[in-house]
């Protein structure tokens, strides 16, 4: 949610500071662009300075960095690595220029950084680098130090796949004509990762789903669909359509249900005994065309088949699984439903459902106020299940009675139940955009109290996803929250001119908003401690714990990215 020059503030109290803020952002953006050009030249010819920029952009006064104390390859230390992945880490070279050197030495530093990447990769990279400007600091005399995180990959069939993470700090200034010139370059590869053996993951979607026409509907992007369908058909701009894995037809094989934007029917891919997928939403009455964000298949009436709860733009629709297929049983009006989660909150043997609701500022209906701690969103919904007979679902809104309305009307994206205090009843974590999250502790009767603050998991941020799992294998569940990590946001919120007049606690809340994902480890005293691990995730959505390498330790897979350009080449904001 943090932004760019285009949206940067005209902050009232300190106009000078704002100029500086805009100036530093412009520098960060120019430097990223220039390094992107160097990288492309390097990919094309092996020499980063072979492109249009050439050596001309290196200033006459440029100098080399001080020789790092230990620059030899023996400084690599093998980190504890999950086989078959090998991880090595090295120290970062600090930005300190050596006055006894000259321009040629600076050029050598620059070329040397690219060479180091190739050495770490065992050959040239095979795709352009990922470049993130992590920080911009004034370096005196109108110069700036811009710190970049750069990632390269070399992937060649038959070879180990290798990635290299570098920190490149560039000292730059603007020449009289406004062009950028380089004064010094400190670069170091700080981490290299190698995968031994064959590809680890492969996209098999087309093979698995076969050539069914319904796959064509999945192939197009949100912007592609919006370009072909009338606005009222309901293809939301941001692409919030979830996935559900469940044995829908009860044959022992799990099926796949795909929620879809408005105008595209939701898809039910049944597994046939041979493992083939067959799209069968229509036959089951699950082919809703309404914009659907989420689906949850659970047995609400204990009759051994799965009922389904659907999160729509207009509310929650519950369909009971009957002999006649799926039949609408109940509907709860509430706009902007996002994630759904279920648990038996009062231990009566029946699963209850919690639905998050998101008042969408991206369609202009509500804007979060204040940005960093907004409570002017939507109330979420606890649907209590008091069903007595099979197929005759009796459900009601019990949000207030369960105390689940106490953390206010926020902008909720995700929620998940887990018995975090091991007292036998499910507790509930809710991740909110634009503010603090809630951890509702169940008192054993299905009444909840928000104790996020005292347990240290308020995680004031742009929360998008939440999952519990025992990540450190101490027998207790830990918490992983997917948040926004924005390099621009980190830079802007750390600048002196940002939100002039705000006090330090408020500023720190703003800064935290751009920090990235949060991993909270459960401590023996019943609280949580924020680990700082697995943080860098970009603009993260539904991170989940999953044992990717099958070694018993849960890893974290995190889908990232907010909005890519509808057409290639458009500059990122």
């Amino acid at each position: 949610m943090l932004s760019s020059l285009a949206l940067l503030a005209l902050q009232a109290p300190a106009p000078g500071a704002v100029d500086e803020l805009q100036g530093s952002e412009a520098i960060a953006s120019s430097v990223s662009r220039v390094v992107g050009e160097l990288d492309r030249a390097f990919l094309a010819s092996g020499d980063p300075l072979a492109g249009e920029l050439g050596e001309a952009w290196v200033d006459g006064d440029a100098r080399a960095v001080m020789e790092p104390a230990a620059a030899d390859p023996s400084s690599w230390s093998a980190a504890a690595s999950p086989r078959p992945v090998l991880v090595e880490r090295s120290a970062e070279v600090p930005m300190a220029l050596d006055p006894s050197t000259g321009r040629e030495d600076a050029i050598e530093d620059l070329r040397g950084s690219f060479r180091a990447v190739s050495e770490a990769l065992g050959g040239a990279p095979t795709r352009p680098a990922e470049i993130n400007a992590k920080g911009v600091e004034p370096a005196g005399d109108g110069a700036w130090d811009v710190r970049l995180r750069v990632r390269h990959l070399r992937e060649v069939p038959g070879e180990e796949a290798r990635s290299a993470k570098s920190i490149w700090t560039l000292r730059v200034s603007e020449a009289a004509d406004g062009t950028l010139v380089l004064l010094g370059w400190a670069g170091s590869v700080i981490e290299r990762v190698a995968l031994q053996g064959s590809p680890a993951f492969e996209d098999v979607t087309a093979t698995a789903l076969g050539g069914a026409p319904a796959t064509e509907w999945l192939a197009d992007s949100i912007m592609g669909l919006r370009d072909r369908l009338d606005v009222d058909v309901g293809v939301g701009l941001l692409g919030h359509h979830g996935v559900a894995v469940a044995d829908v037809n009860g044959d022992g094989l799990e099926d796949l249900y795909l929620c879809q934007p408005g105008g595209v029917p939701n898809q039910l891919w049944l597994r046939l005994p041979g493992g083939q997928f067959m799209e069968a939403a229509r036959g089951g009455g699950l082919d809703l065309v309404d914009a659907t964000t989420s689906a949850l298949f659970v047995d609400l009436d204990g009759d051994a088949d799965l009922d389904v709860i659907l999160g729509l733009a207009s509310g929650v629709v519950v369909l009971a699984r009957t002999e006649q297929g799926y039949v609408e049983a109940e509907r709860f009006e509430r706009s902007g439903i996002t994630s759904l989660t279920a648990a038996d909150i009062n231990m009566d043997g029946r699963l209850d459902v919690y639905a998050c609701a998101y008042a969408n500022p991206y369609d202009g209906s509500t804007f979060p106020l204040p940005y960093h701690d907004a409570e002017n969103g939507q109330a979420n919904l606890l649907i209590a299940n008091v069903t007595e007979e099979p197929d005759k679902l009796i459900l009601g809104d019990a949000t207030e009675e369960t105390g689940l309305d106490r953390a206010g009307s926020r902008f909720s994206f995700a929620a998940t139940f887990e018995d975090i205090d091991d007292d036998g009843d499910p507790d509930l974590y809710v991740a909110n955009d634009f503010g603090r999250n809630a951890l509702y502790i169940n008192n054993g009767t299905g009444y909840f109290r928000n104790r996020a603050a005292e347990l240290g998991v308020e995680d004031v941020a742009a929360g998008m996803g939440a999952a519990f799992a025992d990540l450190d294998r101490d027998g207790q569940v830990d918490l992983y929250v997917s948040n926004m990590e924005s390099s621009a946001g980190r830079r802007i919120t750390s600048q002196p001119g940002f939100q002039g007049g705000a006090d330090e606690p408020t500023l720190s809340l703003f800064r935290r908003h751009a920090k990235g994902n949060s991993l909270f480890l459960r401590t023996p005293d019943g609280g949580f401690v924020e680990s700082g691990l697995a943080t860098t995730g970009h603009w993260a959505w539904g991170g989940i714990p999953v044992d990717l390498d099958g070694n018993g330790w849960l890893d974290l897979f995190v889908p990232n990215g907010f909005v890519s350009a509808a057409r290639p080449g458009a500059p990122d904001l």
């Binding site: 932004s3 992937e155 990635s163 992007s221 799990e254 991206y362 990232n560």
Partner: protein, 602 residues
């Protein structure tokens, strides 16, 4: 934009809030133009080090998991039945689905467990499984997994709980399957149920209360070759067909013909939309583009189809700028550009009206097209608007016309209106909550921004026609319309009616208070402003107005208290506060000087 955020939710500085909202509006416009924001970011895969203190490395790139998609929802699922967890990921970008087969864990030992509750919920959601093995040193190693339903983002993962035990060290003899002890804590049940020892490489179902793990047959492993969904090709000619789920009124279009006569076609009247009585196709083009006529496509086919269907054809040439008024004594009048348009269209087989836009029409047409695409700017010309006989817009097309297009549209028009949503998408399915009427308010806002004031006023009327006449909202709108006409008694009657329907509606109260205020009934106005304020205590305008009414009604204490509060919330520099302060001061001076006057008289 974030740096523009007011620091609290209170009324605060209006200016700061406005800047913040402007920031959001700018962002939303940018996103609708297709510009990126934190786009092209790669997915992360944080691998746990699996030994020593907890540590993670983002191995996404080497694992082939770092797609630069706009990733959203992810779930675990064993897609190829090999016992490990694969991934299913939804994206905003194309392809919107990726099924990612896990090859990495193929050599590792696995165990799959499903649960069934008997006294607890049948899905056993909330149950926790502890799987214990002995390591080489004889130390127990425990893995804990919870059966959950719904976690991550918009995701429900597999009900199978999977436990991994890694690979045997290289060089060690392939041993027999490992033995694993399973214990379950059922939700709300004291203690652990022991299911004894099972072996890796298998799948088990644990039924609550049985204490026995039953082995479940595993399906045969599937070999799935790599293959991602291919993004569809874009239509190179820019042909689109948007079928509105519900036809909508449009503002009237002012046009002129070659004869020089001008008039208004379509639009809204107090009786409803105005149509031609026939299906009508409006072709919008620009004759100043040399390739424009070719760009319009098969006009002869369109003409023939329209004749066959008794539909009306209208062309509006956005490039036909009306000739400048002749300067006195000009030797020859400038030729009408419509003559040129007409000749070119006729040569291409067109037989229909040839019109040029006048007034706001040139603003309205692009906004209609952009509105239906929810974009800031319209796609390139030409556009075809297909209207119902009653004048409501039903289909928007862009790109060249092709033979059969009209037949396809008329086929849709033949369906009852209630079925229209089903035809608004090429993908068949059923609506749980079909889209309602188009939001003319959004078109109106667009037109206001473009300065098309007459069209936007017309749409205000349209909104009244489309909403239920019984609602308070409509009555309030009617009241406001009466106010705009200067009809105070009419407005009062409307606001009274709105209050009759919805006594707690602050807008209706405000409307009534405003009319009473304008009528000079200050005591009544003060009372009504007070009610409105009770319903919406944070509304600064209402408080300001109440204070002004209080000044007029001689209730200076009320006015002063309101002024004090507004100064706190809005700042002393706010125009309303300054105005109010002046009014209160003048009234206070007036009160004092009249006191003094009396003293002199005495």
């Amino acid at each position: 934009m974030v740096s523009r955020s007011p620091l609290d939710e209170g009324p605060g500085s209006g200016d700061q809030k406005d800047r913040y909202f402007e920031g959001w509006a700018a962002l939303n416009e940018s996103l609708r133009r297709g510009e990126p924001w934190s786009g092209g970011e790669r997915n992360a895969a944080f691998l746990s080090s699996g030994r020593g203190p907890l540590d993670f490395v983002d191995a996404g790139p080497v694992l082939g998991l770092d797609f630069a998609d706009d990733g959203r929802s992810a779930a675990r699922m064993d897609v190829d039945f090999d016992g490990d967890d694969d991934l299913v990921v939804s994206n905003r970008t194309a392809p919107r689905l990726r099924i990612l087969a896990n090859r990495m864990a193929d050599g590792a030992e696995h165990l799959g467990v499903r649960l069934r509750g008997t006294t607890v919920n049948r899905d056993a959601v909330g149950a926790v499984v502890f799987a214990t093995t002995m390591d080489d040193g004889g130390e127990p190693q425990v893995q804990r997994r919870t059966r959950s339903a719904g976690s991550g983002y918009l995701a429900q993962s597999s009900a199978w709980l999977r436990f991994g035990f890694g690979r045997r060290e290289a060089g060690t003899r392939p041993a027999r399957a490992r033995r694993v002890q399973l214990k379950v804590r059922w939700p709300g049940v004291e203690g652990l149920e022991d299911f004894g020892e099972v072996r890796t490489g298998r799948r088990y179902v644990l039924v609550q209360g049985t204490g026995t793990a039953s082995e479940a047959a595993a399906p045969d492993r599937l070999a799935l070759a790599p293959g991602a969904l291919a993004a569809p090709e874009r239509d190179a000619e820019g042909r689109r067909r948007l079928v509105l789920p519900s036809p909508t009124s449009i503002p009237g279009l002012d046009v002129r013909g070659r004869s020089g006569r001008s008039g208004r076609i379509f639009g809204l009247t107090p009786k409803g939309p105005k149509g031609t009585g026939r299906h009508t196709v409006i072709a919008v083009w620009d004759s100043s583009d040399p390739a424009a006529v070719e760009g319009l496509g098969d006009l002869a086919a369109l003409t023939a189809e329209a004749a066959g269907a008794k539909a009306m054809l209208v062309s509006i040439d956005l490039g036909a700028i009306p000739p400048e008024p002749e300067a006195s004594g000009a030797p020859t009048p400038a030729p009408d550009p419509l003559d040129f348009s007409s000749t070119r269209l006729a040569a291409a087989g067109w037989a229909g009206d040839v019109l040029a836009p006048i007034g706001e029409t040139v603003l309205i047409l692009p906004e209609i097209v952009s509105w239906r695409l929810d974009r800031t700017d319209p796609p390139p010309l030409p556009w075809f608007l297909v209207l119902e006989p009653d004048g409501r817009l039903a289909v928007v097309r862009t790109g060249p016309w092709r033979e059969g297009d009209l037949a396809a549209d008329l086929d849709v028009f033949a369906r009852p209106l209630g079925q229209r949503p089903a035809w608004s998408t090429p993908y068949p399915g059923r609506w749980a909550d079909p889209p309602g009427e188009a939001d003319l308010g959004r078109l109106r806002s667009r037109l206001v921004r473009r300065g098309a004031s007459s069209a936007s006023r017309e749409l205000e009327l349209g909104r009244i026609k489309t909403a239920s006449l019984d609602s308070a909202e409509v009555k309030i709108r009617l009241g406001r319309a009466a106010l705009e006409r200067g009809d105070l008694p009419g407005a009062l009657a409307r606001f009274d009616a709105a209050i009759g329907v919805a006594p707690e509606n602050a807008l209706a109260r405000r409307g009534r208070a405003y009319v009473l205020h304008r009528m000079g009934q200050y005591a009544d106005a003060l009372e009504e402003w007070t009610r409105a304020l009770e319903l919406d205590p944070r509304d600064a305008d209402t408080r300001g107005n109440r204070a002004l009414a209080a000044v007029e009604a001689g209730e200076l204490e009320v006015a002063r208290a309101d002024l004090e509060q507004l100064t706190r919330s809005e700042g002393a520099a706010a125009p309303m506060v300054r105005l109010l302060k002046q009014a209160v001061e003048e009234a206070s001076r007036g009160a004092r000087s009249s006191d003094g006057g009396e003293g002199v008289d005495r």
